[in-house]
Symmetry: C2
Subunit: 306 residues, 2 copies
Amino acid sequence: MSLKLTILGCHSATPKVESHPTSQILEIKNHLFLIDCGEGTQVQLRKYGVKFSKINHIFISHLHGDHFYGLVGLISTFSLLNRRTELHVYGPKGIKELITMQLKMSDSWTNYLLIFHELDSKESVLLFEDKKVEVYTIPLKHRIYANGFLFKEKTNEERKLNMTEIKKHREIEICDYHNLKRGRDFKMENGDIIPNSELTLDPPKNLSYAFCSDTMYFPPVIPIIENVDLLYHESTFLKKDEEVAEKTKHSTAEQASLIAKEANVGQLILGHYSGRYKNLELFKEEAQDNFENVILAETGKVIELK
Amino acid sequence: MSLKLTILGCHSATPKVESHPTSQILEIKNHLFLIDCGEGTQVQLRKYGVKFSKINHIFISHLHGDHFYGLVGLISTFSLLNRRTELHVYGPKGIKELITMQLKMSDSWTNYLLIFHELDSKESVLLFEDKKVEVYTIPLKHRIYANGFLFKEKTNEERKLNMTEIKKHREIEICDYHNLKRGRDFKMENGDIIPNSELTLDPPKNLSYAFCSDTMYFPPVIPIIENVDLLYHESTFLKKDEEVAEKTKHSTAEQASLIAKEANVGQLILGHYSGRYKNLELFKEEAQDNFENVILAETGKVIELK
């Protein structure tokens, strides 16, 4: 299974020429999920060659401008591009009114079905599910109502055929494959049993990605994101500015790494850096005191898991 | 007198990597006026080194996204930068609710006085005036309520001292300069009169700039913008697509040039090009059939008049 994350922007607050506000594209099981949509996201999507028509689901963590001021522009652009496919927007209660009011004021409407899924639960809820993937909210703690999102490939129940072994047994025919994939043993004509474990391999591992931004240090997320392969956790500040972090309900790099460690995740991506820091390597160094596998988010960076 | 216009964006509709939606900065008489504010304008301001703190007046022509989706982000950024000076926003009725609702939803407010001047008149009205400059609306005709803006240096009533001539007459002292500037003749001790025209020069010419976007071909603007030194007039389409222009209530390059010609302006700037055209030189060629002095707006272009 595979998962590809493209960072379109990973800086906090005021956009500068080369530091864009939060937005990410996640490719998972043929879906192209857009996560947050700060001002200028549509230009970033163009820059990194993302096909607008393939985005059918947009997840907005919270209603601070640097996470959603680009949404109304993208929705309008979809109209100009004559989109016909429905678009699902998941975000805090109020997002529907904000967007529709702006469209109404400009006397324009979408020529496609725009479906809002407004969130107000403080529990983790299932937002989206199909045969191959599930998306859950991760309730966060910030100055306003905020959710992270957990993207999980669904358990693949079919085992993988071990063709090298299967070919050693002439009696096994293609019509038997279905039962082998479902974990059944093979019964030979002479009554002997070949155990399934000799003929098949474990199914490929399902991958998972958790996006946690914006939030203060909030341990209740740990059981929700436990064992994910990839975790993005905001780290607006360094430990030396922990007081500011607490006041503004953001996290430090150290706090992000503690969450990663406790949740036993595979890799940790840091981002949402405050504009006050010049040397972002310090974030990595601080986090690595607790958790080794740290990546610094950078605009345009692509992280692939296979 | 002098006037400096910086084009921050001049393309219509969907932003692309290198074609930004409408926004301009006008420097006139120590003012820095921001005209329209499409998505990404704050980044463009940074890119072209405009001091955020010097912008005290923002003029929004109409509520289509490519002319104002960058406004709420800029207003928020001003807060993050600890702005204390009041900010005036001039735009169509409804703009206040749109912006304040977004600020309210994010539980943030400006730490400076944010004053909206909502427009709904169909006549040209005076929006701003001080000792040196006046700003008027230019009612336009578009799919929704829209205004252009006319910026005028105010009549400088003081004549300029012609020092070369003045120095020839020992009797004229510094305390006489005030009367000379006001146009009075000089009376010699022997009773002779030196006419004012021999001792002073005409005051420097006052400059003016008219911004007309978005609009269909709309001759009622002509008396309002007559004899301006610089006119920006949208030209979304070429004549060959005049039907689309009519349908969408935009102008062609030819129509913009006819307005420029009839209004006897000094220079015409074209812009707001539809994304369908690759060769923008065709806009210039088309306009020059009627009006010679044509400039094509380009992102980052600076036009100075002295």
